[in-house]
Amino acid sequence: MTGKTKTNPVKRRDFVRKSLHVIVGLTVGGLAGILSRKSSAEETVWQLDPNICIQCEKCAVNCVLPHSAVKCVHSYSMCGYCDLCSGYLQPGAKSRDTGAESQLCPSGAIKRTYIEDPYFEYTIDEKLCVGCGKCVKGCNSFGNGSLYLQARHDRCLNCNQCSIARRCPSRAWKRVPASQPYILRGDESGKFREG
């Protein structure tokens, strides 16, 4: 600063302010530069890793959506098409019929269709599925593990901080690239590899 400005407090203040403006501007610019190096044009989305999930049922209630974005999905390529499906039937169910009392799913979201002796196909009605994971637990415990939970991206809002991820006891949730938004099993697992 020169002697000229020293005598005038208003001018001096203005000079300080202008210099600060430039310094802060450069800082913000530098910050933007560093951040852009750490960033990618691609978004991330939330997904749960079914290999870590313990089906604690928190997914059903902790999503910000009234009907959780997490649903059960079915990798048909892994399914045994069992008559006695441990994901469909209550343990110890008397009859292998479609009566509500013998079904594991609290909302009756699993549809059982006869294919050929002795095979049955099980499909999930996502409109009914609440994402509780009861069937997943059954299938993983005694079956092939072809039923598992996934956040469905037609429903998920992709919150900045997934409110399920925060509470997941197994820490199964992570941010994944939007081009590979599912962590799938079986033949389906390769589905998003090519991007």
């Binding site: 913000v28 750490k38 990618s40 691609e42 290999n51 008559d83 005694f142 197994s170 799938l184």
Partner: protein, 448 residues
């Protein structure tokens, strides 16, 4: 065939029943060969929102910022600012459901800095940077008409009261504390507290947990009398905008022309962001202030270090909010036999087969991060407290009514109170303006 499968099932049941089973993929039953020509259905995997929409968000952000600046600086139109604000509320709030927002982006940025594995999306970077850049040149026009959190509060301002200066100064410390905590928690990976405690996101999504609904409603209710309480006394991003705005090249002014100290605008700002002109009949007291400022400057390093020390002592309690640390504590209790019942989290951890020691090591690394972060956080809060106190004692000669650049949200409410603005708009003639004697002006007349 059927019988065989049944047998396998029963055997599996007996064998596996007592074991806590995890989602291991196991082919317990062979994949069937279908004879009826049945084709397996595809697993449908609906894609997330397409990338073009992210670009759309960025475009809307830039357009809204530019328009807000134009409306506030060039048009000086409160009506247009308000309309744009309603649009932003609809778009960023109700349509985009409040995510991503610039306020929350602070956390993504700190997380990205300390966790190299996290690739921050470019749109989040822009949501963080652009409002700051605009504020650095034009003031907080982002707050005026673009931020959805600000908009929802602005819409309910009914009968704003003046918050006493001392109370405002006291409450004004909270945003700094909140910012510090949010950065600390995000950087250590403990979570995004700004998102977690966002009072308004529940409105945008028509649902939140009970406590947050109560918090949101009380904020809005309070907002009818204390204008924009979140913006003024909580918003962590507001701190950064405030800093930028203070240095802004151009900032909105109350008068489009000059100020004749008519005092008509004095009470017009619901946010208490108007600096009153000095009463020229009273001489400024300076001597006493200088001594106090000097004393505070001497105290400053002591306060900063003291607060830093306090912050570092909070490491244990703060780090408990990190999931890894809380898990480690639970595992520790169980290992010591102090707790018999396993929690979901510890069950899940034990199923991974990872040795407890590894977890403890991770947890202690996080704890030491909290200790270091606590020093910085505490020191930062101490520094802010001192600077705020010093600010209370430093008086600058204020010759005219003007906005406080840091806290003014550029909402444009005060413009129309200024008689020069009335002249500019053709609602008053220059002759009428001259007749206004600034000492006995009837303020109420112009309030209507």
């Amino acid at each position: 065939m059927k019988l065989k499968r049944l047998k396998i099932f029963v055997v599996a049941l007996v064998l596996l029943c007592p074991v806590f089973v995890f989602s291991q993929v196991q082919e317990r039953f062979p994949k069937p060969d279908f004879e009826s020509g049945y084709v397996r259905p595809d697993l449908l995997t609906p894609a997330p929102r397409a990338a073009v929409w992210e670009y759309m968000d960025i475009f809307v952000l830039v357009a809204a910022l530019s328009l807000a600046t134009y409306f506030a600086h060039n048009q000086r139109s409160r009506r247009n600012i308000f309309l744009l604000m309603v649009f932003a509320l609809a778009y960023f709030g109700f349509y985009r459901k409040g995510c991503v927002c610039s306020v929350g982006a602070v956390q993504n940025v700190s997380y990205a800095f300390f966790n190299p594995a996290y690739i921050i999306p470019l749109s989040v970077v822009l949501f963080f940077i652009l409002p700051l850049v605009f504020a650095l040149f034009f003031g907080r026009t982002f707050c005026a008409a673009v931020c959805p959190l600000g908009a929802i509060q602005d819409a309910v301002v009914l009968n704003p009261i003046n918050v006493p200066e001392w109370l405002a100064a006291l409450l004004g410390v909270f945003p700094y504390v909140y910012l510090g905590l949010a950065v600390l928690f995000a950087a250590t990976g403990a979570g995004f507290i700004i998102c977690q405690y966002d009072p308004f996101i529940g409105f945008f999504r028509f649902g939140a947990d009970f406590n947050m609904v109560i918090f949101g409603f009380s904020m809005l209710l309070l907002g009818t009398v204390v204008a924009r309480p979140y913006c003024r006394y909580l918003c962590p991003y507001g701190v950064l905008l405030n800093w930028m705005s203070r240095l802004s090249r151009r900032h909105v002014r109350i008068t489009p022309d000059e100020c004749n100290n008519c005092r008509l605008c004095e009470e017009s700002c619901p946010f208490g962001a108007i600096k009153k002109a000095d009463d020229e009949t009273q001489p400024m007291k300076r001597e006493g202030d200088v001594k106090q400022v000097a004393a505070l400057l001497v105290l400053l390093p002591v306060v900063v270090i003291g607060f830093g020390w306090i912050g570092s002592r909070l490491d244990v309690s703060l780090s408990r909010l990190h999931p890894t640390v809380s898990l480690a504590e639970e595992v520790l209790l169980e290992n010591a036999g102090k707790r018999t019942e396993m929690t979901d989290a510890t069950k899940a951890f034990r199923a991974t087969g990872k040795p407890s020691e590894e977890l403890f090591a991770e947890a202690s690394v996080i704890q030491s991060q909290f200790r270091r972060g606590g020093w910085i956080l505490g020191g930062f809060i101490g520094l802010i407290l001192c600077l705020k106190l010093i600010g209370l004692f430093i008086r600058r000669r204020q010759l005219e009514y003007d906005v406080d650049k840091g806290t003014c949200l550029s909402c444009g409410r005060c413009f129309a109170y200024c008689p020069y603005e009335q002249v500019r708009l053709g609602l008053m003639t220059p002759e009428e303006l001259k007749e206004l004697d600034r000492r006995d002006v009837r303020i109420k007349q112009f309030r209507a």
